[in-house]
Symmetry: C2
Subunit: 473 residues, 2 copies
Amino acid sequence: MTPDEFRVHGHALIDWIAEYLEGVARHSVASTVQPGDIRAALPEHPPTQAESFADVLADLDRVVLAGITHWQHPSFMAYFPANISYPSILGEVAAAGLGVQGMSWVTSPACTEVETLMLDWMQELLGLPPSLRSTSTHGGGVIQGSASEATLSSILAARWRATGGQVNTDGDTTHLVAYATSQAHSSIEKGLRIAGIGAQRLRVVPHDEAFAMVPGELERMIAADRAAGLVPFWVCATRGTTSSLAFDPLPQIGSITRREGLWLHVDAAMSGIAALAPEHRWVNEGVELADSYTTNPHKWMGVNFDCNLFWVADRAALLGALSILPEYLRSAAAESGAAIDYRDWQVPLGRRFRALKLWFTIRAGGVAEAVAMIRRHVALTAELAEWVAADPRFEIVAPHPLNLLCVRLREGEPDANAATDTLISQANASGEVLLTRTVLDGKVACRISVGGRTTAAGDVRAAWELLQRLAAG
Amino acid sequence: MTPDEFRVHGHALIDWIAEYLEGVARHSVASTVQPGDIRAALPEHPPTQAESFADVLADLDRVVLAGITHWQHPSFMAYFPANISYPSILGEVAAAGLGVQGMSWVTSPACTEVETLMLDWMQELLGLPPSLRSTSTHGGGVIQGSASEATLSSILAARWRATGGQVNTDGDTTHLVAYATSQAHSSIEKGLRIAGIGAQRLRVVPHDEAFAMVPGELERMIAADRAAGLVPFWVCATRGTTSSLAFDPLPQIGSITRREGLWLHVDAAMSGIAALAPEHRWVNEGVELADSYTTNPHKWMGVNFDCNLFWVADRAALLGALSILPEYLRSAAAESGAAIDYRDWQVPLGRRFRALKLWFTIRAGGVAEAVAMIRRHVALTAELAEWVAADPRFEIVAPHPLNLLCVRLREGEPDANAATDTLISQANASGEVLLTRTVLDGKVACRISVGGRTTAAGDVRAAWELLQRLAAG
C-alpha cells in the first residue's frame, strides 16, 4: 500500500467509523450469531496474494459487523461502560501512525513524559492526594492496560514490601495472606493466584447488606491470621464493585491497614472517574490512606480501551518488585534518576503510546463533556430507580449511588431467581437492549449499567418499558 | 466533536501520518531532548475548556515529534525491529472505531473468531505443527500484548501442570525450578519472579561459543535438582536471543524435556516470523517438541505493537492456570464448550480487537510483501557482515544467520570495550543511525539490527561508513 493509497483508504475508513457510530443504534445490541458463524464466513486459509483494501472494508460490513456486540450502542447496558469518543479514536490513530515503543524514556521521551503529565493532570482532575503525583517524593502513576494488570502490580509491590524484597530471591509466598470481600472483582483472585497467593490465603471478608466490607471483620481476621503465624500483607478495598457498585468504607479500612502495616489497594476501576464531577468526589473518600489506587478512563471517560491509571504512594516497592535491567536496556538518562522507565512499573516490557488518547480526549473533547456525560448517566439511573420503585412487581436489590441499578422480580422465592433469569434472557433476545446477570447473596439480579456514549433518557425509558412488558408476560 | 468534525480531523490526521512516515528519514533517529524537556513544553495543568483539534495536531508537530525516537526511521537499527505498515495502521483505526471488548466470545463473537482464524492462518504460514491449531484436539493460540505476557502465561500453565493444579490453592512454588541461559530475555526472569519462582530457583544453563544452550548441561542440572529434592518444571529455549540472535538447539532440548516431563517454552519473539520465508523455516526446527511457542508479528511482519502470538500444545493447563468465572461473566456459549473465552488465555480480563491489524496486514499488505521485507533484511545483514569482515579494525562477535550483526572494535583488551562504547555513543549522537549496546561474555558489542520498514541498502551502507569514519577517529 503506497502512502497515497493509505490516504484514500484511511479517509474511507474514517468515514466508515463516523457512519458506524452515527448509525450504531440501528443494530441489534448483541450479536445474534452462533459459535463458528463468523469463521465460517471467512476463508479457512490465508490469501496467497494481496487483496484490495476495498474488499477488506467490505468484509468489515459483510462479516465482522454481524459478529459485533455493540458496546457503543446507546442501549448497551451490560457489563460496564466502555464508552469511547471521537478525540480518543484520533489519539489511537496518532499512536498507530507514530509506531513507537515506550518501554523506556530513551526509546521515545515524549511517550513517557506525556504519560507522566497525564497522570498528574488526572490526579488534579480527580482530586486525588498530591502525594500520588510524579513530582512528589515517593509517589507516582502509570498507564497500564487494564485494572487486572494494575491489581497484579499492586500485589507484587506489596509482596515485595512484606518480604523485604526476599520474595525476588526465594519466591516464598506461602505465609502471605490477602483480604477482600466476595464482591471484589475476579481479577483480585486471579492476580493473587498468579503471584503465588493461593485461594486458601485469600480471606473473604464478610460484607454488610449494602455489599460493602465490614471493617471489624477485617480486623478480626487479620488478628486471627497473625495468631496463626501467617503474614497479612494486602487488602483490596473496592470503590464501586462490579456486581452492584458497592463501596467498601475506605477511612475505616485504611485506619486498620495503616495500623497493621498492610498494603491497601483501592480498586476504583469502574467508578473512580466519577470524581471528575466535584459532587461525586466522595467515591475517593479516604484514598489518602491507600498504598495504591486504580481507575479506568477506558470505562467512563470516553477513552478507548486500553487506558488504566495506576498510582502508588511508594514507587520504590513497585520498582523493587518489577525492575530487571539487562545490558541491552541500560540508559544514562534512567540510571541518573532523571527519567522514568515505565517498563519497571508494569508486567510487560513493551508499551504503546497510550497517553495520546487521554491527552486528545482531555484537550479536544474537554473535561466538561466527560463531566456532563457522567452527570447524565447518574441522573438517568436515579430516574430509572424511581420508575422501578413504583412498580410492585420489581425490587431494587442494592444501593445505587451512581450509574448501576440491580433489579429483580419480586415474586416469591425460589421462583424469583428463575423468573429474573428468564426476564434477562428475553430482554437480551429482543436485540433492543443488553443487560447482564449477577447473583447477590443468592439472589439473581439484572444489572442495568447506564454508561453509553450517547445513552439518553429515551434509551433508558425504552429498556424499562421492555422489562415491564416482559414482566407482564 | 461532532461526526462531521471527526471526518475532517480524521482525514487531516491520516494525511499527517502519511506525511510523517514518508518524511521520517529527515529526522534525527533518536530524540535529542533532555529529561523534562517535553513536559516543560506543555501546560502543567489541564485545560479548563475544550481546545480545537487543530491545536492538538499542531502540538504533535511542535512538541511530540521532538520527543520521538523514530522506530520507523530507515536507520533505526537499535533494540529490535518494530516495523509497522499502512494496512496494519488501518486495522488499529478500525479497532478503535468499533470500540468493543473481546474478553469473552459473547462480548463480540467476531473479535474472538477472527483472532482464532488468524492464529490458524499464522500456524499455516509459519509451518508450525498442526497440533497447535485451534481445531486440534488439545492445542490452540491467542493474541497477547507482548512476549513478556506470553512467557508469563507459559510459566503459569507449567506451574499448574507441575503441581497438579495445587498451586491455585496453596500457592506453594518453593520447590519449582526453571532453566534458561544467561542470553534469555529479561522477561524470563521477570515472569518467573512474578509467578513466585525466585532468582535462586532459576538455573542459568551454560551456553556455547555461539551463545546457544548446551543441552548436556541442562540435563546435568535437572538431575542435580531432582537429587536435591526439587521439582524441575520449565525450560525456556530461545530461538533468536535479544543480545546476539543465538538459537538454542531445540531438538536436543526437547528430547530432554519430553523425557523428563518438563514444560518446554520456545521464545521466538524476535525471529520466529522469519519462517514466513520457506528457506528460514529452520528457525522453528524442533518446535513440535514444545509445550508453548511465541513469536511477534509486531516485530518483523509490519504489524503494529501490540500483536504477540502465543500457542500452547495443551490448552487445558493454560485454562487451569488462568480461568476464573464470576457470575457476571458466565455465558451459555462458553459453558457449552462451543466458544472460546480468551480472557482465560491471558493475564488481564479486557482485550482490544487486535486481530484486525493482523488480518488487514495479511490481506491488504500481503504475505509476499512481508516475505520480501524479511529477505531484504537478511540479505542486507549478510552484505554488511562481509564489509565488516573485510575491515581489520572490527570483529564480528556472534553468528549472524538473520538480521542482527554484533560487532566490536578489535583493539587489544581491555580498551576494546571502552572503544566500542565510545563508538556506539558517537554513532548515536550523530542522529544518523541508532544502535544499541550489549555485552557478550564480557565483551561490549554494538548490535546492528536491520529491520526497518523501509531500510534499504543505502541506509545500511551509510551506517557502516559512519562506523568506519568514527573508528578512524
